[in-house]
Structure formats: structure tokens, C-alpha cells
Symmetry: C2
Subunit: 419 residues, 2 copies
């Protein structure tokens, strides 16, 4: 009996030590990655402002691409698969080089300065993931603990940049293997996410928050309308994923040389921008999302954003896919709202959540991020939309190294990669 109690106490002591270790290191990770994330936020801010004031910069987009490829060549990181590498570093033991951080930092800023259409959270995930991994190496963590550090870093960077600490904490646990929650990373991710958010707030990063105002009462008719919107959004998500992957595939097929590839991609985006006649689809396009929330959108906007983003990222420019997904969802939702006569503002918000869920296959994160972006009042709408979009978006996804562990239609173990 005495032996048993001693064993039990030893065990408990070990657990408490592990917990204390994670509290400490997640604060470190939150401070460091939060700081870098904040720097990146202001970098993005300056770059976007500069581009808006000097629209002619778009003409340099093709040339800027060469600079990006050059950077990656210079640091011998041509095989970098971006966010995919971060995800596969978590579920396998692939290495995540620290040089990924400066590379993605610079190349995303270049992409945005010259008007490529991309997001910034892909950059955030790579920044955070590689710094987290670096910290893990520095502290001589074993492989499994390094994985937790990568998730910590991802959460911290996402949180600093988006101002959504709750969704950021859950996202890294949910996105790697859909259906399996890496709860061992719960405390580390939550703490580093909250710390990074505090760091960002301290330096004056303002949180993205869209006000929906009046939300229609949740009744059968409105539930049906939102379900229809969510089902359509699932389709939009599939199209977006296919476009992104196909564009990469086609670019590689027709332009073997990465310099030529990115130069041509820059030219395509440039030509398209000139044809459109404005720069609504260049950069992140957060201003356009805000217009959608107010109920104004051009009918073709959602498709144009997908096209611009596929042409930009497929060619080798850097950035993320999530803000473009938000843009696409917002534009599509707003269009749906205007056509159906059902609150375009709410439809915009629901469209964003549904497309986010469709392309990332992360229903819980999508639900939580919608509370953080739009407030809690639309809850039943978001819940319903996220569920439908998850089920009907099939096994498509932004990240080809993401795994879907259980079938979406039956409780079967399938463990397949997304396409």
C-alpha cells in the first residue's frame, strides 16, 4: 500500500513538473513568436499602405517574383512546401528548418508590396511553426515535445496577427489530423496564444472585428436559408481548393524553371489587374470584406478572388490562403444575401465561416473564429453553417499534407490526405 502511494505520488509529481514546464515554455514561445508576429503585422500594414498609395508598384510584380525565388535559392530552401511542411513536421518527424521564418517573412511582404493576391496566416503558421521548432531544438526537447512547440508557435503567430486567441489555440490542435484533437497541446497552445495576443495588443495591433448589427431571429425559414448558403459554400470551397492545386500543377507543367514560372505568374496577375481596372483583388482585400459586411459586393468578386489567388500562389508567390478564403466566403455570402433578400450582413459572416471550414476542414475552429470575428449572437447560424460546410466539402483542403482521420459520412477510420 505504502509502495503504491509512493508510486502514485511520484507519478503525480512528474505530471505537475511536465505541466509547469509547459506553462513556462509556452509563455516564452508566446512572447517571442508574439513579438515576431507583431513585427510582421506592422510590416504588412506598411507594405499594404505603400501599395495603395503607389498603385504603379503592381508593374514590378513579375520582377519581384524573381527576387522571392532568388531568396529561397540563396538559403537552399527551394523544396520548401510552406504550410504543408509545418503540418507534416507535426504528424511525422520531418525537419522544419529555422530559415523558413525569415524567408516567409520577407517573401510574403514582397508579394503584398507588389500586389500579389494572398493572405498572411500561411506566413503566420510558418513563422510560428519554425520558430517554435527552433525553440524546441534549443531546449533539447524530444521529437514529441518539439511537435507541441510547433503547435504553440503556430497558435501564437496566428493569434498575434488575427487577434483571435481562442480560434488560434484550437486551430493548431485541430488542423493537422482532422478528427484527432491534440489535447496534449491544449495548455501550451492556449497560453502562448493568449500571451502572443497580449504582446500584439501591447504594441497596438488592432483586432479585426466585424459588426453584424441586427441578426434575424433564428427560425425555420432562416435556418433553411442559411443551410442552403452553407451547402453552396461547401461547393465554393471545393472549387477554390481545386483551383489552387490545379494552378500549381499547370504552372509546374508549363514552366519548368521556377524563375520563369513566377515571372509569368506575376505577368498574369498584372494583366488581370489591368483588365479589372482596380486593385480590389490584390493584397489581402480586407477592405473589400468590410464592404461585404455592409452589404455591397460585385457579383463576380468571389470568383475573381479565387482566380487571383490561384494565379498568385500557384506561381510561387508567398502568403496564406485563409484571408483569401474569407474574402471568397464574404463575397459569396453577400451575393447570396443580396439575391435571396436575407440579411446580406449575416450571410457575409456565415459565408466566411463556412468557406473557412470547407477549405480547412476545421469545424470547431471555424465556429470559434466566427464568435471572435463577428460576436456570439449569431451562434445558431454559425453552428449550422459550419456543420453543413464540413460535411459537404468532401476531402478537399488547402493543405495537401493535412490528414482526415475519420470518414465524414460514417464513423470509419480512413486516415487519408486531402486533395
Amino acid at each position: 500500500m505504502k509502495e503504491l502511494i509512493r508510486h502514485k505520488l511520484q507519478h503525480d509529481f512528474k505530471r505537475i513538473k511536465t505541466s509547469a514546464k509547459w506553462v513556462l515554455f509556452s509563455i516564452v514561445s508566446g512572447l517571442l513568436v508574439g513579438g515576431v508576429g507583431t513585427l510582421f503585422y506592422f510590416g504588412m500594414y506598411v507594405v499594404t499602405l505603400t501599395r495603395t498609395k503607389n498603385p504603379w508598384l503592381i508593374f514590378l510584380l513579375p520582377v519581384s517574383g524573381i527576387l522571392i525565388v532568388g531568396c529561397y535559392r540563396l538559403l537552399h530552401d527551394e523544396k520548401d512546401t510552406g504550410t504543408n511542411l509545418v503540418l507534416s513536421a507535426i504528424h511525422s518527424d520531418e525537419d522544419l528548418p529555422l530559415r523558413m521564418a525569415p524567408l516567409i517573412f520577407i517573401s510574403t511582404l514582397i508579394t503584398h508590396l507588389f500586389g500579389g493576391s494572398a493572405g498572411r496566416e500561411g506566413a503566420a503558421l510558418q513563422l510560428g511553426g519554425s520558430i517554435g521548432n527552433g525553440l524546441g531544438k534549443l531546449f533539447r526537447f524530444d521529437e514529441k515535445d518539439k511537435h507541441i512547440m510547433i503547435m504553440c508557435g503556430m497558435s501564437a503567430a496566428f493569434s498575434a496577427l488575427f487577434g483571435t486567441p481562442m480560434a488560434a489555440a484550437v486551430f493548431s490542435m485541430e488542423v493537422v489530423s482532422v478528427g484527432v484533437m491534440y489535447y496534449a497541446a491544449l495548455v501550451p497552445c492556449v497560453i502562448s496564444s493568449l500571451v502572443a495576443h497580449a504582446v500584439a495588443e501591447f504594441f497596438g495591433v488592432s483586432q479585426e472585428m466585424f459588426l453584424i448589427g441586427q441578426i434575424p431571429a433564428f427560425k425555420i425559414t432562416s435556418a433553411v436559408k442559411i443551410s442552403v448558403l452553407a451547402i453552396l459554400c461547401a461547393g465554393v470551397s471545393i472549387i477554390f481548393c481545386v483551383m489552387l492545386h490545379q494552378s500549381e500543377h499547370l504552372y509546374k507543367k508549363f514552366f519548368k524553371n521556377p524563375y520563369v514560372r513566377i515571372f509569368s505568374g506575376g505577368c498574369f496577375v498584372l494583366i488581370l489587374t489591368l483588365l479589372v481596372g482596380n486593385q480590389n483583388y490584390n493584397g489581402t482585400g480586407i477592405n473589400i470584406i468590410e464592404q461585404c459586411i455592409d452589404g455591397t459586393v460585385r457579383p463576380e468578386a468571389f470568383f475573381m478572388k479565387m482566380l487571383f489567388t490561384a494565379l498568385t500562389l500557384g506561381a510561387g508567390f508567398k502568403g496564406g490562403e485563409i484571408v483569401p478564403s474569407f474574402f471568397t466566403g464574404a463575397a459569396f455570402g453577400c451575393l447570396f444575401g443580396n439575391l435571396s433578400g436575407f440579411s446580406p450582413t449575416l450571410c457575409t459572416a456565415v459565408g466566411m465561416a463556412a468557406v473557412f471550414c470547407g477549405v480547412t476542414n476545421c469545424p470547431i475552429t471555424a465556429l470559434l473564429i466566427s464568435f471572435e470575428l463577428f460576436g456570439y449572437d449569431g451562434m445558431p447560424y454559425f453552428l449550422l453553417a459550419v456543420a453543413f460546410s464540413y460535411m459537404l466539402s468532401g476531402y478537399y483542403g488547402l493543405y495537401s499534407s493535412q490528414k482526415i482521420i475519420y470518414s465524414k459520412y460514417k464513423t470509419n477510420y480512413i486516415n487519408r490526405k486531402t486533395h
Copy 2:
């Protein structure tokens, strides 16, 4: 190519058919289980009112126990393990008899009428689970689809009774195997949960909602205080689980005959009630939770509730463990708030969320239910508290057939049952 497209279309058509099937059947499940849940709600209401008006009913508690055991004997369901059976019916193929529904319905009402200390959501889960399984059999679903129907039913009953459709939908996906999310049940659970909630609202079930009022700004000092509270709550959760399991074990050891066992249990609760001198710890005790929210609590309340509940449920009385967990968390949180001088109201709410998380090992559900019960404004506090309570509550849990798939401290596959 043509062949491929045809194959793809057939595949998509099959998925759409599956989705449509689930929409339909989850509405049916939501309506039926929602209706039964509503009936149960009003039953509980009447029973509790009757007991409060006639405090002498407590003297009949020992005899009423004999009635409960008699009912189970009569329907040949002596081996019924309650909520555990529902959970193991989902991850194994154990049968879930339909007679569980009327049995738990009646026996929970009896327990509450005569002043046993118990909750009602255990009853809800069993009601919903067995009716869901019954529907699955009726429609000749295969084993895997029957599991989804069980989850649907659980969500619907939980939602109708508690008025928390979001947490109810996620709970059944999360609780069975912690770390694995049964997302195949996402749409079915969400829909049946929302439908059941609508049914309950239609018949006038009023939603439990506790107002926190002023929430202190989320700063380092307040975050540390809440973390300390959450860590203590993890300890309380462990004690509660151990008390529940030990009480059952000891009862069985000393009283082999179930009639004698439940009669003695009734006597213990009766004596304890007389010693306490009031009925604060009998029934669900939601009124006491409300007092905690207002900042008033007796220091021993959290422990007394655990003791009352362990004595009641261990002896064979029926009901749930979740409302008692809420009570314990609320009383402990309020006490902590009063002692530390940090908003007792917020501490009550956080205590409830943390103990719920600690005993169920369901962090996402705990987070969501705290939004539904207390509003969204305390988000960072709940997030932090739930994370700490999850990590430090070890592998203890209310339901011995719950499985924890991944270690809480490392990303290791462990697949162990809780104790």
C-alpha cells in the same frame, strides 16, 4: 476520362444521398427526443416543486429506493450501467435496450421527488441514447449508423433539458473517446440538437442562463488568479470522481443485496439531511448555484454536495452527475472568490466550467457550455480555466467506459479508460 467522371459523380451522388438521409433522420430524432426531453423537464419541475413544498417526503427516500430497484428487476435490467452503457454502445457494439428510456425516466423522477442528490443529464443521455438507438433499429441502420443515431439522441435530450444546443451537439461527439472527435456525427448532432431545443422552447422550457454582470478586465494578475482556481478545480474534480467510484464500490462491498443497499443509502442521505437541517443539498440544487452566482455560499457546500451525491448515486438511485458537478464547481469557485477577493461571480462561473471539464474530460464542450450559460464576455477566463482543468485532472472521469485516446502530457497514443 469519361469513366472517371462518371465514377466521381456516382460517388458524389452517394454522399449527397447520405447527407440528405442524415438531415431527415436527425430532424425526426430531434422532434421525438426533444419531445420526450421536454416531458422529462416538466416532470422534474413538478417533482422538485412537490418536494420543496412537502419536505417530509425525504423520510420516504429509503423506501422509494426499493421501488427503483424493483422497477429495474421487473424489466430485467438489473445489470444496467447507465450512462456508461450508452458510451460503450458507441465505441463497441454493445446493445442499448429501449427499456432503458422508461426506466431512467421514472427512476430519476422518483430519486428527485424524495430528495436524492443527483442531476438530470445522466438521465437525458440515457433517454436520448436509447431512443436514438431504437430509431436506428426501427429504420434498420447498420451498426455504425446506429452509433450516430445514439449520439444524435444524446445531443437532442441534453439540448432540450439544458437549453444549450451548441454544447449538447459537441458533447456527444467529444465525450466517448477523448481526443477523437466523431465529426461524422456533426450534422446529425447539430440538427437534432437545434430541433430539440426548438421543441423545448415551443413548449415553454425556459433556458438556464446565469448573468455574470461585471467581468474584470483580463490582465496578468486576474489570469493568474483564475489559473490557480482552475488548478484547484482540477483537484476537486479528481476528489469528486474518486468519491463517486469509491462510494459505489463500498456500498457493493458491504451490502450485497441491491434492495438493502439502496435502502441503506436512502437512510444515510436522510440522516445527513437531518444533520444539515435543510434540503440545500438534495435534488439538483440549481437554486443554490444561483446563490453562488450572486456571491453567497457556505464554505463546506462544495464538499457536502459531493458527499450527498456520492451517497445517493452509489447506492443505486438514478439521475446524473453533471448538475452536481456544476453545483460543486460553483460552490468551490464562489468560496475561492470570497476568500481571494476576486469577483466571486466570475469565479463561480469559472469553477463550474472547470469542474465540468475536469470530470468529463471535454474541454471544447466545457468552453462552449460556458458561453451558453454565462455569455461570451468571459471568454479568455473560460479558455484558460478549461485548459488547466483538463490537463491537471488526470485520467479520472465520471464515466468509467469513457476512453482517453491520447496522453494529456505528450502526443502519445494511450487509449485507456478513465478511473
